[in-house]
Symmetry: C2
């Protein structure tokens, strides 16, 4: 719906929302991430309208997050994550972490992550790329970068 164009704002959050901010887009991405690569699979899993799914897949392909590959002589396609798309999954993983902690309730988290490197169940943790210490909202100061908007303050 998003009539306002977020992509033009000098803010990486708004720009990212321009790519996956529309309703259903993150869930479409999730499905493809976990191996549901075909139109009807995703449609059935999410219960999304076919019209909207068509629109979302097109949008994600257009933005280079997905690629559409033919897998048959017939007109059959599957959608796969690009490198850009796989890195976008980072955002989903952090959403899962937050949802698990604050919204899962009694039942506990719906899924668990087994980390290849250590073989254990783990959660994702945010750390500073420079020093490796935890990095959260209160651990940083936000300051203008090279691509900051000229006058009206905006927050990246």
């Amino acid at each position: 719906m998003q009539r306002t164009n977020f992509g033009d704002m000098a803010c990486s959050i708004a720009r990212t929302l321009d790519v996956i901010g529309e309703p259903w887009s993150p869930l479409v991405l999730r499905d493809i991430w976990v191996g549901m690569n075909r139109f009807d699979q995703i449609q059935a899993d999410l219960g999304i309208s076919r019209k909207v799914l068509t629109e979302r897949l097109g949008h994600l392909v257009e933005h280079g997050v997905l690629e559409k590959h033919a897998y048959d002589n017939r007109p059959r396609y599957e959608y796969v994550l690009t490198e850009k798309g796989r890195e976008l999954v980072d955002v989903l993983m952090v959403m899962v972490g937050w949802g698990d902690k604050w919204l899962a309730g009694e039942a506990g988290p719906p899924v668990l992550y087994r980390h290849h490197a250590c073989g254990e169940i783990g959660r994702v943790d945010l750390r500073c790329s420079h020093c490796g210490e935890p990095m959260h909202a209160d651990d940083i100061d936000v300051q203008p970068g090279p691509g900051a908007a000229p006058e009206p303050a905006s927050a990246g």
Copy 2:
């Protein structure tokens, strides 16, 4: 448009989207995070309709992400992040990281983060809570957790 209710899905992504998935919500959160705590400030900064801003602030308060505080004898309020809300900012920080890398272009990132712990400009990095090694989409296997849905596989 009679949105499908994401909050009822057995998926922490969908549940998180139920809280901040609506258009504008992440940008409202961002504004409050960087210190724009008042209705008219946010409205002017984002160019959002006042009606929608009212609705979004109410929704975020209702879900415990924001608190509404009177700051005057007059009916004046400011919105502040709760602990739950501050942790939600993690999601925004990762969105910023992705947007900076893939969408910022020539101009470079609109904002920079200075990390209190080390004093340096840093980005946020995802690591395994168990072993501390990098943790991204390809570094994990997803498996059902205690709160998984009974039959239809869901990923989240």
